[in-house]
Amino acid sequence: MVKAQVYAGGRGKAGGVRLVNSPQDASDYASKLIGSRLVTHQTGKEGVPVHKVLVEETASVAKELYLALTVDRSAQGPVFIASAAGGMDIEEVSAKQPEKIYREGVDIAIGLQPFQARRVARALGLSGDQAKAAGSMLTAIYRMFMELDCTLVEVNPLAVTSDGKVIALDAKVDLEDDALFRHPDLAALADPAQEDPSEAQAHEAKVAFVKLEGSVGCLVNGAGLAMATMDLVRRVGATPANFLDVGGGADDEKVVKAVNIMLSDSGVKGILINIFGGILRCDIVARGVVRACQERSASLPIIARLQGTNVEQACEILAQSGLDVFFATTLLELEAQLKRALPTLRSANELSED
């Protein structure tokens, strides 16, 4: 088997996993994959670059199972999820046949107990030596999860081979960004090329940013307000180009970086600023936006809704910048300004759909 190593699922259907019959085949296929971009249903249309492949022995599979360990919100701790219906989309199994999913919560204070591992093995339909093998795997997964600060370890499929062995045929591990300070060795393994380039830059600038497909660039403070702002854009019939939370403690430099990241998307037709400044001063945001726009000679229309600390100064900076700025003080006014600017804010393909 030759498998593309990328930060995305859905590789099989996208041609990233292939069964090969000779060393030559393996080499040919690996060369074809390495350096290419793989587009799966999880990656977006740009895809992700393949830098590495995994070449492994083909297993003769008798049974495919599912085993994962994650942090469960309601249980407030680690929970194993197991299903004898492996190999397929576990979301789908969970939605359509929830009775086929077994959950075993672990007390974070005492860790996984052997009887719990036996219970999970039984739920997977395993007995005897196979149950023992699965038990060792569960213990190892739990240890890895806790020691490396994982948020997900997913073995799918967990296979029983035709000669009776229990092996992890494929696995996905999510490490927690917020815990990487404890694991510099793991942090060093990160491949920024697997991320969207603008998201990678945002990561570096410590700005919470998610690239979307729309045409209105959004600059907001606070995650909830940033999401609500995107919702507002969509309500008036335009589409947000991004989620962007510049954060509470942003300085000039950070705002400039954030605006640059936002404007690196050529689909952006206008800028929407929505700041509820408490700790964050509105004048810092205004100055950053003006500087970034001037440096890039960007002449996009700006709709600015600023509230809170130093708002008067901020409005003056924007008004005197020579940029095309429309002001709003409340969200309702912001909505009205967006509606008014709609013709200029919609992207070319949105207009052609009309």
């Binding site: 942090v71 680690p78 939605a95 909830g224 919702d231 509820f276």
Partner: protein, 293 residues
């Protein structure tokens, strides 16, 4: 009256000598909060801004000053220690502000709190404020609040400020505003706060501000349907968020059907909540619901 805090709240601030801790401690004092102590290991015996005695440990501060609430500004990597130290010392209300506490650290803290009398708010939350009790235990701008009879409970900071400013602009005051935090594992959830508002004779209506991720809003909806006696106005952020992407908050990620804004709005609507379609209309919806009573 108010929930979680009152005129009897005696606030301790962990990390009071830090830049953020010091800044917000002073804003809390200005608002009227009784800040009785600070804790910074190694700085015991000093005074913070010439007013508040600083101790080396929480148990010492509690013993000396009778502090019964703590506001934690300790950075995320050290927050687990700070939260457990406060719980061990028997502090009744623990509010943890820092964003980015590793989720397994939160899991350990929540496990430690089980069966203890301490309540944790957060982590990754703005804290809470009661304009009626003149008590602010958090980082929200105090000036936007007005005393009144509307309760607010929210997973988001700035969206709460947005809601509060809409309410205040319409002359509608607030009893208590509680930010429960944007993390997947938090100490106090919507249902916990709704239970308190249900009993609070000075709260007439509750605004619930949720967002994508998890199923806490559905649990709130079930509770509202069964037991909640007051009108609820709700807004859920993230209707346009793509699945599988973390939208800033660690907890704001769509991982399955229940986690979408659509599913949450439906559950709340079914429970009889007044679901606000646009974030700009939170205030006017409250006004309409209050007027129609």
């Amino acid at each position: 009256m108010s929930v979680l805090v009152s005129k009897d709240t005696r606030l301790l601030i962990q990390g009071i000598t830090g830049r953020e801790g010091g800044f917000h401690a002073q804003r809390c004092v200005e608002y009227g909060t009784n800040v009785v102590a600070g804790v910074t290991p190694g700085r015991g015996g000093t005074m913070a801004f010439d007013k508040v005695p600083v101790f080396d440990s929480v148990d010492q501060a509690v013993r000396e000053t009778g502090a019964n609430a703590t506001l934690i500004f300790v950075p995320a990597p050290f927050a687990q220690d700070a939260m457990i130290e406060a719980a061990e010392a028997g502090v009744e209300l623990i509010v943890s502000i820092a964003e980015g506490v590793p989720v397994l650290d939160s899991g350990r803290v929540l496990r430690y709190l089980r069966g203890r009398k301490s309540r944790l708010l957060g982590p990754n939350c703005p804290g809470l404020i009661s304009p009626t009790a003149k008590c602010k235990v958090g980082i929200m701008p105090g000036s936007i609040h007005r005393p009144g009879r509307v309760g607010v409970v929210s997973r988001s900071g700035t969206l709460t400020y947005e809601c509060v400013s809409q309410l205040s602009a319409l002359g509608i005051g607030q009893s208590t505003c509680v930010g429960i935090g944007g993390d997947p594992l938090i100490g106090t959830n919507f249902v916990d706060v709704l239970k308190l508002f249900n009993k609070d004779i000075d709260t007439d209506l509750v605004v619930l501000i949720g967002e994508i991720g998890g199923s806490m809003e559905q649990e709130a909806a079930a509770y509202i349907k069964r037991n909640f006696k007051k009108p609820v106005v709700s807004f859920i952020a993230g209707a346009t968020a793509p699945p599988g992407k973390r939208m800033g908050h660690a907890g704001a990620i769509i991982t399955g059907a229940a986690a979408t804004a659509e599913a949450k709005n439906k559950a709340l609507k079914d429970a009889g909540a007044h679901v606000v379609p646009s974030p700009g209309e939170m205030g006017v919806t409250v006004q309409r619901v209050l007027g129609g009573r």
